[in-house]
């Protein structure tokens, strides 16, 4: 796409970026506590976010900039199959409604700040806690890198070259996250989400009006896929199982990530979470419409070098330049919120479940906050280095594996909330089996998300993460049956 300089969108973007930067630093004074020097305050915003703040924060954190770029890109490239993000982000909420208030309650009553805290508290078994913590951190790192890819797509669309703008944006983000903690993304999420709503509502009204309506857009996409000979506006029968298993697997993995759990733990009450499970689908409606931008790109006759450029290219061709600038700003800020929450979630894990567990068990609240703040910087620098020095595909591949990995923490984190039949060593064996066999399957398939299982003459293709989770649970159950229970049942910590 053309990259000649246009100063109007750039000015709009710089204005909004400056606005959220100020908000990020001012956030330290928002609902000001006596001190920010504890994980509860820095890393969880004081566990006081009510329904609306949680709605904006989790919405801003779960529906990331990368989603806005990548979902339409996939729909643009392959059609209906890319739409699995819609059933995924619908069925995730009944799960959140049923499970997350219970998890919140355990965490709030006992002061847990991370998934691994909960696992340690339930089983009092350090190896399982460490497995959950390490999985959380390594699954989050590539996710942060993906946010940078979203931001880079916008910077490229603005006509800026070189890596300096990306580095500057990220350094600023790192600094206000350091000083304000979770309050910064929570406050910025208000701006980000409102901007994204404006952009998408404008896009789904204005662009179809220009392109002859939705019927014409779907017809154009249908014709393009037929001409290309692959993809389509409905699924091929061979895609049914992949589609459904990707939706289900992604939904189970979504709230195992440190950044989504941070949103849960930061809520004021279980009721806050229940109300959000009812209200957050509003973002899903938005996502469904965002996905259609891919078809609009086809109908507008756009050709892009990289599929990820389709949304910026569409905005550039269909919007006046100031509004294109506004849209780019929305996507760019949309990368900052999740990147901040992800680095905070990873930092909380490192501090609680590695530093406190192994390096300095006597650490006080202020010390914990300091370790977490520095870790959040390190995590962000790491993600930046990955993007600057390794191929983009590396981050994408790792992100795919990250989803598979994080799903393997589900039995350890969730099962204990409902029944205590599983013992910790069995859960650890299940985690290891799911993690290793799943990674091996994905690796031998050439890092594709789908794996084909053959049963005699019939075969079924499923999301590899879901297969790994099944292996995980089966192995955990078998080990639990085979290995005798210890004579004294382990008591919960504290």
């Amino acid at each position: 796409m053309a990259t000649e300089m246009d100063y109007v969108p750039l000015a709009v973007c710089v204005f909004f970026f400056a606005l959220v930067t100020i908000m990020g630093f001012v956030a330290a004074r928002w609902r000001v506590p006596e001190t920010l020097a504890s994980i509860d305050e820095w890393g969880l915003g004081g566990r006081q976010f009510g329904t609306w703040i949680t709605w904006f924060l989790v919405g801003g954190d779960f529906y990331t900039a990368y989603t806005v770029i990548a979902v339409p890109a996939l729909v643009y490239a392959v059609g209906a199959y890319g739409f699995f993000a819609l059933p995924y982000t619908i069925i995730v909420y009944p799960f959140v409604f049923a499970v997350m208030p219970i998890l919140w309650k355990v965490a709030a009553e006992r002061g847990y700040a991370t998934s691994a805290d909960v696992v340690h508290g339930t089983y009092n078994y350090r190896p399982l806690e460490l497995a959950v913590a390490v999985t959380g951190v390594i699954a989050t790192m590539p996710y942060i890198a993906l946010q940078l890819i979203g931001m880079a797509a916008v910077i490229k669309a603005l006509g800026l070259t070189g890596e300096i703008p990306l580095i500057v944006a990220f350094v600023i983000l790192a600094l206000y996250t350091y000083s304000s903690g979770l309050r910064a993304p929570a406050l910025i999420a208000f701006v980000k989400d409102i901007m994204i709503y404006i952009v998408v509502i404008a896009a789904v009204v204005i662009i179809p009006a220009k392109l002859g309506g939705y019927g014409a857009i779907f017809d154009a996409a249908d014709a393009a896929f037929k001409a290309k000979g692959s993809g389509g506006i409905t699924l091929a029968p061979a895609q049914f199982f992949p589609y459904a298993s990707l939706a289900l697997g992604s939904a189970l993995a979504a709230f195992m990530y440190p950044h989504t759990l941070t949103g849960i733990f930061a809520s004021r009450s279980g009721d806050t979470i229940r109300k959000n499970a009812i209200l957050l689908p509003a973002y899903t409606l938005l996502l469904g419409l965002i996905a259609l931008l891919g078809y609009m790109g086809i109908a507008a006759g756009l050709k892009v070098a990289s599929n990820n450029d389709i949304v910026p290219a569409l905005f550039k061709s269909q919007f006046p330049n100031w509004f294109a600038g506004f849209a780019y700003a929305a996507i760019g800020i949309g990368a900052l919120v999740p990147a901040a929450v992800m680095s905070i979630g990873a930092a909380n894990l490192f501090t609680r479940n590695f530093w406190k567990a192994y390096v300095n068990p006597q650490i006080d609240h202020a010390g914990e906050a300091q370790v977490a703040k520095i870790t959040s910087l390190v995590v962000k620098v790491g993600a930046l280095l990955v993007i600057l020095f390794l191929p983009t595909q590396f981050a994408l591949d790792l992100q795919l594996l990250g989803g598979l990995w994080i799903m393997q923490t589900l039995p350890a984190l969730i099962f204990g909330l409902f029944f205590n039949w599983f013992r910790a060593p069995a859960l650890l064996a299940g985690w290891a089996a799911g993690f290793l066999i799943g990674t091996w399957m994905a690796w031998t398939d050439g890092l594709k998300p789908l794996h084909t299982l053959a049963f005699g003459s019939t075969s079924v293709t499923l999301y590899v993460g879901l297969i790994a989770l099944a292996i995980n649970i089966i192995v955990a159950a078998l080990v639990n049956l085979v290995v005798p229970a210890p004579r004294v049942a382990p008591r919960p910590a504290e």
Binding site: I90, Y93, K105, T234, L248, D271, P281
Partner: protein
């Protein structure tokens, strides 16, 4: 009388309600069936506002799923 009834519900002392709410939880399974059984909705016709069935059917599940979740919520005790 109205006030009393409100308090009664809030504190969740209504035994009838508790037994009913355990059945209500099953409502949460409906979106999984509606969306994971793909062959049921993998078709273009009937269209709605130009949207093929595949698309409007899935979009329609957003409000339906939220409504079902709200029905379960309404039947719960809100202790926390």
């Amino acid at each position: 009388m109205q006030v009393y009834r409100g308090l009664y519900r809030m504190n969740g002392h209504n035994p009838k309600q508790t037994s009913r709410s355990s059945w209500l939880w099953l409502l949460l399974l409906i979106p999984y069936i509606g969306l994971l059984w793909v062959p049921f909705y993998n078709q273009v016709e009937p269209r709605l506002f130009g949207f093929p069935f595949f698309y409007w059917y899935q979009l329609m599940w957003v409000p339906i799923s939220a409504l079902l979740t709200w029905l379960v919520y309404r039947g719960l005790d809100h202790g926390d």
